[in-house]
């Protein structure tokens, strides 16, 4: 019997020495998933009867949980000594999707971030962000993280579907989920949504400023729920949106602030121990500190060295023009620059890129211009010359 299910779940690497659950201990997980994974664990330990009866109860409670149904059905047939049904054509595809879903859910159970691990994409958070969403596109996992004194801490994590064509949206209609740092722009409630989107949706601001620099097109990237005929969707199912179960969306709704909450879509998420995270953070803190100092300087070449050759601003200005404008302004050399509410994101999708956002206050030291304040985003890239800004823009969130 075990052999049959192993053949079915061959991608799962169910090891005989089943890991004591490594799941982030205090994180919240959705109940049907926990129950399904517990049943698989029981099966793994040879408690077939318990696995079957727990699955039967789970299915009573959640009859639309397709993965639970197929595991249950396969276990029943194995126990009855009957052959598994032949899957061909569309059913074979559905079966493979379910197998893939099982694999990603089980992988997460076996290997989750440690309770104090810091995601490489979010090194420090300004106070204005109470929560942040981080989606591991490769592992189909959406993390809800709380701002704990500037450090993100996992509160909950959920299985999430992504675009049917995978990761790295470039063009309208390519059915991929974008990679980048975004924020939630609004909340669309159930009543406003077609059934496909379930009980709620959080659109995000793809394409962001950097996406536009790279000429990326498309729109309508949301985090949303599922039609009520199913509990969740296949790992790669949408036109680019990130999709969670309706229960999970309900949970998220209490924590997301439209217009504010950052949303990171990453294809290269690493979980760093606090020391490593601190090291990366501190390097970038030094970088931005030096930039601030040089921004105040009367010598334009000091600021210029922070800007890459291929720099482009949000209104299309290239490096020379942009820096010339700054050098020529009346404020040049006559100001103090203060940076507050600094957030540092390890920008996903690139080997060494960071997004640093902050509130910039410029105080004139003469009476020649007004003090000013603006929210800004800077995209920094590291290469042989060190860290340099490749793009700068007003911060789009409130």
């Amino acid at each position: 019997m075990r052999g049959r299910l192993c053949a079915l779940l061959s991608g799962l690497s169910l090891s005989m020495a089943a890991a004591a659950s490594a799941e982030t201990r205090d994180a919240f997980h959705s109940d049907p998933e926990v129950r399904l994974l517990d049943a698989l664990s029981q099966f793994n330990s040879g408690d077939y009867e318990d696995a079957l009866s727990d699955l039967s109860l789970l299915i009573e409670d959640q009859p639309d949980f397709r993965l639970a149904n197929i595991v249950y059905a396969d276990l029943l047939l194995a126990k009855a000594g009957r052959p598994l049904p032949q899957s061909d054509g569309p059913f074979s595809d559905k079966r493979s999707e379910l197998l893939e879903e099982a694999r990603v859910r089980w992988s997460h159970r076996l290997q989750s971030p440690a309770q104090d691990a810091i995601p490489s994409a979010v090194l420090t958070l300004a106070d204005r962000y109470e929560y942040v969403i981080v989606v591991d596109l490769v592992r189909n996992r959406l993390y809800l993280m709380r701002n704990d004194g500037g450090q993100p801490e996992i509160v909950a994590d959920f299985y999430a579907s992504i675009g049917v064509q995978g990761i790295g949206k470039q063009l309208e209609g390519d059915a991929k989920t974008p990679i980048g740092v975004y924020h939630v722009t609004e909340y669309k409630p159930d009543e406003e949504l077609p059934e496909l989107y379930g009980n709620g949706a959080f659109p995000v601001n793809y394409p962001n400023s950097l996406d536009r620099v790279f000429g990326r097109t498309g729109y309508g990237i949301w985090v949303h729920g599922v039609p009520r005929s199913t509990y969740n969707r296949a790992p790669r199912a949408s036109q680019g949106c990130v999709v969670v179960s309706n229960d999970d969306l309900e949970t998220l709704r209490d924590y997301i602030r439209p217009g504010i909450t950052p949303v990171v879509f990453s294809n290269d998420l690493e979980w760093l121990d606090p020391a490593e995270a601190a090291e990366r953070r501190n390097r970038l803190v030094k970088v931005i500190a030096q930039w601030r100092q040089d921004r105040e300087s009367a010598d334009p070449s000091r600021l210029a060295r922070h800007y890459a050759e291929d720099f482009v601003s949000s209104n299309g200005q290239e490096r020379r023009e942009y820096l010339a404008d700054i050098a020529d302004s009346p404020a040049a050399g006559n100001m103090k620059v203060r940076l507050e509410d600094i957030s540092i994101f390890g920008y996903p999708g690139y080997r060494e890129m960071a997004l640093i956002s902050f509130t910039q206050r410029v105080y004139s030291t003469t009476s020649k211009f007004q003090d000013s304040e603006s929210r800004r985003q800077q995209f920094w890239r590291k290469d042989d010359s060190g860290w340099q800004v490749i793009h700068e823009a007003e911060s789009p969130d409130r």
């Binding site: 075990r2 197929i70 029943l76 126990k79 000594g81 052959p83 598994l84 559905k94």
Partner: protein
């Protein structure tokens, strides 16, 4: 109908088991009427019996069976439920409740009742078969939800109702096997229920290190496409034989020398035990135990020498994967103090193949052990 709701006492149990000849005759007449489909007459017969003997459990049980067969499902459910409550260790009321719930499409209830029957009688063949069918029905429903396909309304599930009630608490002995056999309808064995037509999936052989289910004799499939060859591919001998057919029996009173130390009853018991061991060794792929059930002068037939046959059996029986073998309604014919034949219905199931045959084992007693000297099968 009056139902006995008092808890079982030994006396009550004994009373249920001990029936006067006239009652035994009436009961078996009623059973015959039911087998023939004459339910109303059967009920009349049983009602008469119950008027005289309101505590006759067999009669109460049979009454419920007749009601079930007539389609009086709710009354039958009530009656069986009362019997199940009064005799919590008896598998028959539980089994029949499962049959009725399955008829109503409540497969989860059917499953629970059957698992309860199996928990007190792990080798109870009828409940075992029914449970497999219920699992299959439940699986069909779950698959249709999982794969978002339309569920075929006719799941083809037709469970076996049991028609006699022993009220005994023994656990899965040869007696239970025999009783389950009696509970079959007198008609030739019904066709096995089938899932909506699907081909079995080709299957990679399981890891030989996998342990089989420890607690139940639940069958699980084998990995061997090779076993789908010809029916019955798993039998070493096939084709025309001179073995006794199922219909043929030698009277039990054939001369059996008493001096060898085994009475006919002892011999029968020993033979049945040997057959059970052989089946168990086969099903659990205990190759050595299986081969040890055969005598040194075993004649394989089919052109195989004994070493060749042994090699073939070693390979087939020991091949990774799971099989299920059941011995149903064994009948022993003693031919001499050290010779007998046993005939039974043998069911065999593996992932790609299942069959039922009438199997006859010719047994010889060597050094106190009954061993197989010939093995033949006939289609049923």
């Amino acid at each position: 109908m009056r139902l006995d709701r008092r808890p079982v006492a030994i006396a009550a149990l004994a009373a249920a088991l001990v029936t006067l000849p006239v009652h035994a005759a009436s009961i078996s007449e009623a059973q015959t009427l039911i087998d023939k489909g004459l339910y109303k007459q059967a009920l009349q017969q049983i009602d008469t019996l119950l008027d005289a003997n309101p505590d006759n459990t067999q009669a109460k049980f049979l009454h419920a069976v007749a009601q079930a067969r007539m389609g009086q499902t709710n009354a039958a459910i009530e009656a069986f439920a009362a019997l199940a409550k009064a005799y919590p260790d008896a598998p028959e009321p539980a089994n029949n409740l499962a049959v009725l719930y399955a008829q109503q499409g409540d497969y989860e209830k059917a499953r629970r009742w059957l698992e309860s029957a199996m928990s007190t009688h792990p080798a109870y063949a009828t409940a075992h078969r029914n449970l497999g069918d219920v699992y299959t029905a439940l699986a069909a429903v779950a698959y249709s939800r999982a794969l978002e396909q339309e569920q075929s309304s006719d799941l083809g599930v037709d469970l076996e109702m049991v028609q006699s009630f022993s009220g005994s608490a023994d656990r899965g002995s040869a007696t239970a096997l025999a009783q389950s056999a009696r509970s079959q309808p007198a008609a030739p064995s019904q066709p096995r229920p089938v899932m909506p037509a699907r081909n079995p999936e080709p299957f990679e052989p399981a890891d030989t290190a996998d342990k089989p289910l420890a607690t139940r004799p639940a069958p699980a499939p084998a990995a061997t496409p090779a076993q789908t060859a010809t029916a019955p591919a798993s039998q070493p001998a096939a084709g025309p034989t001179t073995a006794p057919t199922p219909a043929q029996t030698v009277p039990a009173t054939a001369p059996v020398a008493q001096s060898a130390g085994q009475s006919p009853a002892e011999a029968r018991a020993a033979i049945l035990a040997a057959v059970e061991n052989w089946a168990r060794a086969w099903a659990s792929q205990d190759v050595e135990g299986y081969l040890n059930s055969y005598a040194d002068n075993f004649y394989p037939g089919d052109g195989l020498s004994l070493p060749q046959w042994k090699a073939q059996r070693r390979q087939r029986v020991g091949k990774p994967g799971d099989i299920a073998v059941r011995v149903v309604n064994p009948e022993v014919s003693l031919q001499a103090e050290d010779r007998a034949s046993v005939t039974f219905r043998q069911t065999y199931e593996s992932i790609n193949y299942s069959d039922q045959v009438s199997k006859t084992l010719t047994m010889q007693r060597n050094d106190g052990r009954w061993l197989i000297v010939r093995e033949t099968s006939q289609p049923l």
